[in-house]
């Protein structure tokens, strides 16, 4: 048995029936033909003939039989896989919850142990099983999935392969009886398998995989960074991000709400993630913060939570420095801020204004200043029809 950690490859799809297991078996067969020792640790063909036939020729390890409340169940046999110690093991349904009494509660924990034993694993999962997307998917489809896996499991995978079909093609497969037995098809069509559900799930899956690719690409290499000149040049030439990521600089005042609103709308239009950053002076994090500031901070936290934005509270004397550091760390492509406060004469003479410092410190990043409408010249109140 190898002392090295095994490699995990995950086939992810928007829903059952897209062909994840099929593709996993195809690749498993290709590996076996290439001379690798491949076994099927657990396969759930759901009665699909094409899938079952594709497993032919591969060694299938026996399942472990157990009982739960007098119901006979079959689970993956972790001990048998570890004892057999193949080079590559195919394990279907990564998000599966094991019956009580197994080594682990969840299958991904079994897979972790298999990987630790130096065995490579191919596995499958649907996007709605990802913990962070569970609520979002429930909101999109109205169906809550109980079996979830932590996002870290997918992030830790060495390869993630998206199995993509159009919603129309998947529905056609469903109607043809290639996904579920014919008696389950009408119910599936009326509930989960609607074009709008599948389109939303497909978008979620595509975005998830794209983000995963981006995170991996932006992450520093695991080995010691080379100082070779050509490496540095390649790094410098590489784009920092594919998708947009917005960073809104907010103060702890009612005016921040307007900046957040604008930032969120921009993020929605761009399909971007939104970070909210508030910078506090060191030493004021504790008791010295005024009750008004605390209230505003809590309000901002709740608003961020409702909007699905990430609120970052950082300490620093220099807002520009902190904002530049955070924008770099988060891979922000777009920074929004309110109109900066007027500065005194000395500061105006000695230091460039915040927007200029941000533009200089964040080359290639868009900067937008959200206007303060209270400063706009308005007609006098008597002309206002409201009052």
């Amino acid at each position: 048995m190898s002392s090295q950690h095994g490699r995990l490859k995950v086939f992810i799809g928007m829903a059952a029936g897209v062909g994840k297991t099929y593709r996993m078996l195809q690749e498993g067969q290709a590996e076996a033909e290439a001379g690798r020792d491949v076994v099927v640790g657990y396969l759930e063909p759901h009665g699909r003939v094409e899938t079952e036939s594709l497993a032919a020729g591969l060694e299938v390890l026996p399942r472990r039989r157990t009982h739960y409340r007098e119901t006979p169940l079959e689970e993956m046999n972790l001990a048998a896989i570890l004892a057999r110690a193949p080079e590559l093991c195919l394990i279907d349904e990564l998000a599966h919850t094991n019956a009580p009494g197994m080594e682990h509660e969840k299958r991904y924990e079994d897979v972790r142990e298999v990987l630790e034993a130096g065995i490579d694993v191919f596995s499958t999962v649907n996007v709605q099983h990802l913990e962070s997307l569970n609520d979002q998917v429930t909101q999109l489809t109205g169906t809550r999935v109980r079996e979830t896996i932590p996002d870290a499991v997918l992030s830790a995978a060495d390869e993630v392969v998206l199995i993509d079909v159009t919603p129309e093609a998947l529905i056609a497969r469903l109607r043809a009886g290639k996904v579920y037995p014919s008696e389950r098809v009408p119910a599936a069509l009326n509930n989960f398998f609607k074009v709008e559900n599948l389109s939303a799930l497909r978008e979620t899956a595509l975005r998830q995989v794209a983000e995963g690719v981006e995170v991996k690409r932006l992450a520093p290499p695991p080995t010691v960074a080379s100082s070779r000149r050509e490496d540095r040049l390649v790094k410098a030439a590489a784009p920092q991000a594919i998708s947009e990521r917005l960073l809104a600089l907010v103060t702890l005042s009612p005016r921040a709400q307007r900046v957040v609103r604008r930032a969120w709308r921009s993020a929605q239009r761009l399909g971007a993630e939104l970070d909210l950053l508030t910078v506090r002076t060191p030493g004021r994090a504790g008791g010295q913060t005024s009750s008004e500031e605390r209230e505003q901070l809590e309000a901002l936290r709740r608003l961020a939570s409702i909007l699905g934005a990430q609120l970052l509270v950082e300490e620093g004397d220099d807002v520009a420095e902190v904002a530049i550091r955070v924008a770099r760390e988060r891979g922000s492509t777009y920074v929004l801020m309110g109109a900066p406060k007027p500065r005194n004469a000395w500061r105006r003479l000695t230091q460039p204004a915040l927007p200029f410092r941000l533009l200089r410190g964040l080359p290639g990043v868009d900067l937008r200043i959200v206007a303060d409408r209270t400063l706009r010249e308005e007609p006098p109140a008597p002309e206002e029809p409201l009052l």
Partner: protein, 177 residues
């Protein structure tokens, strides 16, 4: 001679800068003096933003020099976690809050908007009362199915539970000829 002229010019420039700075600070102090010390909450849901109630809340806020706190009550279905992001509700709430803010600014009333979520209107209002401080609350009562306001039960609940003053505006009954 030249030195004297230069010194004079520098002196004038410094004087001008000092005057500008003094004026800027004076304006800042004037603005902060105008900042009100108390708030009027104006809760509403996506289904009912009552124009008369908003006008009343704005009038009151302006008369008292108070900040108007419009609060959008976002209702979270039971099948979702109460902590879940609500993009659909937010997409509805933000333009409404923006519109209220615009009107308030035209009326020279400072605004501090909020979104509160809850399983029901009362749950969201309870959250609002827990998180926010305010001295008054203006609500629209949608009596007998008229107007875009809270139900009679919700208003009765508020009478019992709301801190500070509660102003419930009932829509006028249609006049019969």
């Amino acid at each position: 001679m030249i030195a004297a002229v230069v010194a004079l010019l520098v002196g004038l420039a410094l004087g001008a800068l000092a005057a500008l700075e003094f004026e800027r600070r004076r304006r800042g102090r004037a603005l902060s003096r105008r900042a009100p010390v108390h708030r009027i909450a104006f809760p509403f849901t996506g289904e009912g933003l009552s124009e008369p109630a908003l006008v009343a809340a704005l009038r009151l806020a302006r008369a008292e020099g108070a900040t108007l706190m419009p609060v959008y009550l976002a209702l979270v279905p039971l099948r979702l976690s109460v902590e879940v992001p609500l993009p659909v509700e937010a997409a509805q709430a933000l333009p409404l809050l923006e519109a209220i803010e615009q009107r308030a600014l035209r009326a020279h009333v400072p605004v501090d908007s909020r979104i509160e979520r809850g399983r029901t209107v009362r749950h969201a209002m309870r959250e609002m009362m827990e998180h926010e401080h305010f001295e008054r609350m203006v609500v629209a009562a949608g009596a007998n199915g008229l107007g875009d306001g809270f139900s009679a039960e919700d208003v009765a609940w508020l009478v019992e539970h709301a801190p500070g003053e509660l102003i419930a505006l009932r829509p006028a009954q249609p006049t019969t000829p």
